[in-house]
């Protein structure tokens, strides 16, 4: 097969071994390294768990055996990657994964008060953490419509509170605990209904604003 010099992306995979520095960046080599790394860390994590004997396998038997097999496959893939090459690794994007992780972290640390060192994050419940996560996640795409995201944030949060909190009765902070004192005599479920109702009103209002502005839904 002759190579087309005008297509630099293809030459990455087709390049014969021994030339260029990118030749080891193939799926086989890197994938094998990942498996070797995993097996290695498994051995470290296992420490001195007893493997036991055939007659009485210890707790370390299965994990150690599995880790050895993984290491063998990993080593095979590394060798194959060096001598035979493999498919190039597709571009790994940074923006999406970083933003999504950020949204998850913010959600995790705002849903209830969490001490980090001497600092304690404010626990604002789903009513705050949900919209925050939606708005942060919006940055993962290059173009975004804030109005759309705001409608989604309000409606989705209301839906989650109603479904998980009200209908399924799952234990979760729907709103900051301090809010309860503004509603003397109200039960938590009643406040939940009120909060999600308010969110739905907000979503509806924003939707009407959007309708007036025009554009397709």
């Amino acid at each position: 097969m002759s190579q087309d010099p005008s297509q630099p992306t293809q030459s990455e995979t087709m390049r014969p071994p021994g030339k260029g520095r990118g030749r080891l960046l193939n799926q086989s080599f890197i994938g094998g390294l990942c498996l070797l790394g995993l097996a290695g860390s498994a051995f470290l994590a296992m420490g001195d768990l007893a493997s036991g004997s055939l007659r009485a396998m210890g707790p370390g038997g299965m994990p150690r055996g599995t880790a050895w097999l993984i290491a063998v496959i990993g080593a095979g893939m590394v060798v194959a990657g060096i001598f035979r090459g493999g498919e190039a690794i597709p571009r790994i994007s940074v923006r999406g994964p970083v933003i999504i992780m950020l949204a998850l972290v913010v959600f995790a640390f705002t849903i209830r008060p969490t001490p980090i060192g001497s600092f304690t994050t404010p626990g604002i419940g789903i009513v705050g953490a949900g919209p925050l996560a939606v708005l942060i996640a919006g940055f993962a795409e290059r173009d975004r419509d804030w109005l759309d995201l705001a409608i989604l944030a309000a409606a989705l949060t209301a839906f989650c509170i109603l479904l998980f909190g009200y209908l399924l009765n799952l234990p979760m902070p729907a709103f900051p605990v301090s809010w309860l004192k503004y509603f003397p005599g109200w039960s938590q479920r009643q406040v939940m209904l009120l909060v999600s109702g308010a969110l739905l009103v907000v979503a509806l209002a924003l939707y009407l604003v959007r309708r007036r502005r025009g554009g397709n839904a």
Binding site: M1, A56, M101, R144
Partner: protein, 501 residues
């Protein structure tokens, strides 16, 4: 007679108001995600696991099953109308289904797909009901050694029938098994590979792993694909096929049903092959094969029936032997274990209302799909317009709230992010995440049976070969594995030679 009695019990369970509602809900959600591109049944079921915890096990599994076959159904709607296969199994339907739509026969294509699927679903339900009992009785002969070999064979077949490199898939299965070892050892109570973390003492949570590797990782992958969706507003037209069209499709529907049902029975993911096999058969049998690809109704009727039949019968290995043939079934097994039901042949006797209720609900679900899909097809098409930039924040928040609601652990939320990264990187370096989930689900069961078998045989490893059932199962695994590896070895060698030229 016993069959009718059992089905009667099943319908009694499935027809309860709550279970009917859950079945309908599952079918609706399934159709929805089948239509929406970028959200698959695996991610959805993983996402909805927390919601099912408040239900009774039968209701939960009825809903999850509805999502699975509902998604198959919705996938074919988009395949016909907009040439996008919503699910992998609907790829074949795009060929003739979309061609029919372009010729103004979209309604007929949708109609025949629905009728074929319903027929296939009915037959497959009967097959499951008939095969359930004998297969379970066979499985009663199994002792730990045979179980271990059976699970090994299930994993081997799953690996071999999956697309992509066999070696890598084996690697992923092993990684899954290794991950399943994390946590407290059942026999000695020693902590294994927990790094001293308290939150790992109970092992890696199944829902966390599944939601991360499928839910979050799917978002990360989809964000890279720029949306290019042309929503063709084709006129749908008449839905019910005429007499001539029915006559043309009757035999393809029957052939497709048989093919799909048989392939779906395989402990690997054979259900995927059904539509392709059926399309090939119909094309070969046709008097004028050149019509195929230009809107031949047989090319829709056969594969669609095969698709649905396979989707149904792939429940058999899971329900009777406890061996999940694909990632969706692995999620079901995971859900069962969360409810405290050990998957395996004892399910049918220990939880008859669950087993037969699920089977009966499948037939009801197929009926509902027929009623949901045909009159409401316009609504589903409009949903295609929902852009991904609104869908991924929804999935993200739903996953976060859902996973938090299980244990109220903020580490769980962070862990789905971590496993999301893992799933994303795995795909980038050429690994499929589905075998990992299979390995994870079967890992602890395999270890338990391996250890028990060795204790029973007083440490004699030959027990796996001296027991005839176990020996046959192991032999099948070895033969299949060798056969699968041989051609790929040859092909890779050919590639090396080609490069050397």
């Amino acid at each position: 007679m016993e069959l009718i009695q059992n089905l009667g019990l099943g319908f009694a369970v499935a027809l309860s108001l709550q279970n009917l509602g859950l079945c309908l809900l599952g079918c609706l959600v399934g159709t929805l995600i089948g239509v929406l591109p970028g959200v698959g049944p695996i991610a959805t079921i993983a996402m909805l696991l927390p919601i099912t915890f408040g239900l009774d096990p039968a209701g939960a599994l009825i809903m999850l099953a509805g999502i699975y076959y509902g998604a198959q159904y919705g996938g074919s709607t988009t395949a016909i109308l907009v040439n996008i296969p919503g699910e992998a199994t609907a790829v074949v339907t795009t060929l003739d289904g979309h061609a029919m739509a372009q010729r103004g026969r979209a309604g007929i294509a949708l109609g025949i797909a629905a009728i074929g699927s319903f027929f296939a679903g009915t037959v497959a339900t009967l097959i499951i009901a008939a095969l359930g009992r004998p297969l379970t009785e066979l499985a009663m002969l199994f002792r730990p050694a045979e179980y271990f070999s059976l699970m090994l064979m299930g994993l081997v077949l799953a690996v071999v029938l999956a697309s992509g490199s066999v070696i890598r898939a084996i690697g992923m299965v092993l990684v899954g098994v290794l991950l399943s070892c994390v946590g407290t050892d059942i026999e000695t109570g020693e902590a294994r590979m927990t790094l001293g973390w308290f939150s790992l003492a109970d092992g890696i949570d199944f829902s966390v792993l599944a939601m991360g590797i499928f839910g979050i990782a799917e978002i990360l992958r989809n964000l890279e694909v720029t949306e290019a969706r042309d929503v063709v507003r084709a006129r749908i037209g008449r839905l019910l096929p005429g007499r001539e069209e029915m006559r043309q499709s009757a035999k393809p529907i029957m052939r497709g049903t048989v093919l799909g049902a048989i392939l779906g029975l395989l402990p690997g993911n054979g259900a995927v092959l059904g539509p392709f096999a059926s399309y090939a058969v119909e094309k070969r049998l046709a008097k004028d094969p050149s019509r195929f690809g230009k809107g031949a109704i047989e090319g829709v009727a056969g594969p669609e029936s095969a698709n649905n039949a396979g989707a149904q019968t792939s429940f058999i290995p899971m329900l009777t032997l406890g061996i999940p043939p694909n990632a969706v079934m692995a999620l079901m097994v995971g859900a069962m274990t969360i409810f405290g039901i050990v998957p395996g042949p004892q399910v049918i006797t220990a939880h008859p209302q669950l087993f037969w209720g699920m089977i009966a609900s499948m037939w009801l679900g197929n009926l509902m799909l027929l009623l949901i899909n045909l009159p409401m097809v316009g609504l589903w098409v409009r949903l295609l317009k929902v852009p991904y930039r609104l869908m991924y924040p929804t999935i993200l928040v739903f996953c976060s709230v859902g996973i938090y609601s299980i244990n109220s652990q903020i580490t769980d939320v962070l862990f789905i992010g971590f496993f999301g990264y893992v799933g994303y990187v795995l795909v980038k370096v050429g690994f499929e995440p589905a075998p990992l989930l299979l390995g994870f689900v079967l890992g602890s069961l395999m270890e338990e049976n391996l250890r028990r078998a060795l204790v029973l045989s007083r440490g004699d490893p030959w027990v796996f070969v001296t027991s005839p059932i176990s020996a046959v199962l192991l032999l099948i695994s070895v033969v299949v594995l060798v056969l699968a590896l041989l051609p790929s070895v040859r092909r890779e060698r050919d590639e090396v030679f080609a490069e050397a030229d």
